[in-house]
């Protein structure tokens, strides 16, 4: 079980400046990601859940260096990639690919599927035209489409098929890590199940490692080995998927799990309905960021920021209760 982490994140932060006034001076900052650390082992799926604005997508983008981290360290296979130059980065990017939420917005509407899938191969220097064509056909079959789709354009496909194309494109360069940012949230339930099954099969066949970012807790449980829960830029809980769902420690995780409507009429549960909204990340509460909505908040929570620590074997949480 103790395999080398494929990717390791240490004290990663990202803040965006807020500019105001006539001169556009910086008047504040949004701490989108505030000091998070975790690692993903080879072949593992780490699920990252949280509500909108909690920083889960920003985290995914920073790992690919699509966004520059404000501070912190990202290591890929033991190599620090936080300060790599663009040329060096391009080589590493081959190993890390992304699947986006909206497959329509992330596919060029003027390119045929063949061109979309061939492009990464051209960029990364596969010179043999026939080899490229072969690879593209192979990819299409892997994701459950066929050769007849090659000459079509993205608008001729349904949402589920488009997401399959997005997945095929991510696989083109045989990556090791795939960051999937809400890959199924735009799809219908019956199609969502197909795509999730496909992602699982691919992981097995190609020995992939996933960072799976989503807000749907059912989907995340189904696909993840470990789950991290984010709230206002911080990870508040991180543990094995089974642990998070059956034995949640952080009050936010508990509330989040209880808020999900279960499709079962007999299922009775104690609902924890949180009061109020998620506070603005531009002005997060002092101490524990969750104390304004926490049913168990103590005096300490208002002033002291809880440390993210291991409370049980492999179960991390940031809460003064533990």
């Amino acid at each position: 079980m103790m395999t080398e982490p494929l990717i390791k994140i240490e004290n990663l932060r990202k803040s965006f400046p807020i500019r105001g006034g006539v001169l556009g001076k910086q008047v504040g900052e949004v701490k989108a990601v505030d000091d998070i650390s975790f690692s993903i082992r080879k072949g593992e799926t780490l699920g990252l859940v949280g509500e909108s604005g909690c920083g889960k997508s920003t985290t995914g983008r920073m790992i690919l260096r699509l966004l520059e981290p404000s501070s912190g360290k990202i290591s890929f296979e033991g190599k620090d990639i936080t300060s790599l130059s663009n040329t060096e980065l391009r080589k590493i990017r081959k190993e890390m690919q992304m699947i986006f939420q909206d497959p329509f917005a992330s596919l060029n509407p003027r390119h045929t599927i063949e061109k979309i899938l061939e492009e990464p191969l051209i960029v990364h220097g596969v010179k043999d035209r026939n080899a490229r064509k072969r690879k593209v056909k192979e990819l299409l079959e892997i994701v459950g489409l066929n050769e007849s789709h090659l000459k079509r354009y993205p608008h001729q496909f349904s949402g589920g098929q488009r997401q399959r194309i997005g997945i095929a494109r991510a696989l083109t360069l045989n990556p090791k890590l795939i960051i999937a940012d809400e890959p199924v949230s735009a799809l219908d339930v019956s199609i969502q199940a197909q795509v999730l099954n496909l992602l699982k099969d691919l992981q097995k066949n190609f020995d992939l490692t996933y960072l799976f970012i989503a807000h749907d807790l059912g989907v995340v449980r189904h696909i993840s080995d470990r789950v991290g829960v984010m709230y206002l830029g911080r990870i508040v809980e991180l543990a094995d998927s089974e642990e998070v769902y059956t034995n949640p420690k952080h009050p936010y995780t508990q509330a989040l799990l209880s808020a999900v409507p279960i499709p079962d009429v007999d299922f009775q549960k104690e609902r924890i309905i949180l009061q109020g909204d998620v506070p603005s990340p531009a002005n997060p509460p002092k101490g524990c960021a969750f104390h304004t909505r926490c049913p168990y908040a103590m005096d300490k929570c208002q002033s002291v920021k809880p440390v993210f620590k291991e409370v049980e074997n492999g179960h991390f949480t940031a809460c003064h209760l533990h």
Binding site: V189, A193, N197, I262, P263, F267, D277
Partner: protein
């Protein structure tokens, strides 16, 4: 609460005989460059007083067009609505725009998925609420304002007086949806159509909004049609559920029957394909294929191409919606041999 009424057995009896809304043989089609496309196809259903009815289905199944047809919001330039929509004894199909304006927001109200696009960004919350009251009630501005503030408080918004002076962009998504609900409930409508009211919201906020809608449904006379793709939401909110597929109703049952013994292969597949948060399955059951485009299937059962049980007859004949003895309605040849209720 002035509208709270005790649920006596007498009222229960009246409720059954007194549907708020009866939809009979509704057909809605749109004229496009590719000809006339039927989007809603021969739909019948009833909504009783105070009932919460869920309409579920995937994108393009016609659930939203059904609600727009009821509201009389199908564009007349290229849309065509046939059949009967009987609301309070009055047929709403092809009513004059003047009469519909009278009904909309007054007797039937609607809330939409994205509250930001349904609120006017250049008017304050107060302006918009007061306008909605004044259109339908002959009240003074002061009374309308008081009523609006009351309603904001009722939907659980803090600092209601100050909110009246704020603009939609100053509120969060959950608060905006509360404002939309307040606006919809201003004139105590008999029917509230909620089209994916929580889809754009986070789960913790969704829980708050669903809780609020349940509370309002209990405290007032308002019946709710809940349109959603989320089976978890309907399991929690609705008493009766209608499942739509490709413009047709394929199954209708009370919530318990639908989740405990779904009959139509589509409903069965849909329920199975939800990743349940309580257990971890190695593989999800999925329905193969894709949702057909409206109008793309001419013959036979629309679900046949994706149905694991399809046989020859399904491809040539269209099944009828039949009522089983327990009141469950289903459109499938597989259950033809089951005794049909009179």
């Amino acid at each position: 609460m002035k509208t709270t009424r005790d649920k006596t057995s007498m009222e229960e009896a009246i409720k059954v005989e007194n549907p708020v809304l009866e939809v009979i043989g509704l057909n809605t089609s749109f004229v496009t460059d590719n000809g006339v496309i039927p989007v809603v196809n021969d739909i019948d259903f009833v909504v009783n007083r105070q009932e919460v009815v869920g309409i579920v289905g995937e994108s393009g199944c016609g659930k939203s067009v059904t609600s727009l047809s009821i509201m009389g919001l199908v564009p007349t330039s290229n849309g065509k609505v046939d059949g009967k929509i009987i609301f309070n004894g009055e047929n709403l199909v092809n009513r004059s725009e003047k009469r519909m304006r009278n009904i909309r927001g007054n007797e039937i109200a609607m809330i939409f998925q994205e509250p930001m696009t349904s609120l006017n960004p250049v008017f304050t919350i107060g302006d918009q609420l007061i306008e909605a009251v004044k259109i339908h009630r002959n009240w003074s501005k002061k009374k309308a304002k008081e009523h609006s503030i009351d309603m904001l408080k009722k939907v659980g918004l803090p600092r209601a007086e100050e909110l009246m002076k704020e603009y939609p962009h100053q509120l969060s998504g959950g608060m905006r949806q509360r404002v939309m609900i307040a606006m919809a409930m201003l004139c105590e409508p008999k029917l509230l159509i909620a089209d994916e009211p929580t889809t754009a919201l986070d789960v913790t906020i969704q829980a708050q909004i669903l809780d609020l809608m349940k509370k309002l449904n209990k405290e007032t006379d308002t019946a709710i049609i809940m349109i959603t793709h989320d089976l978890g939401v309907v399991a929690q909110m609705c008493q009766r559920i209608i499942v739509m597929y490709s413009g047709k109703i394929v199954e209708e049952a009370d919530v318990r029957t639908l989740f405990k013994s779904p009959k139509h292969p589509y409903t069965v597949g849909l329920i199975k394909s939800i990743p349940d948060m309580r257990t971890k399955k190695d593989r999800l059951d999925s329905i193969t294929g894709n949702v057909p485009k409206p109008g793309s299937i001419e013959f036979g059962c629309h679900f046949a191409p994706r149905c694991p049980h399809a046989f020859k007859r399904c491809l040539s004949e269209t099944p009828e919606l039949k009522t089983l003895q327990n009141g469950q309605k289903i459109r499938c040849f597989l259950h033809d041999d089951m005794e049909v209720a009179q």
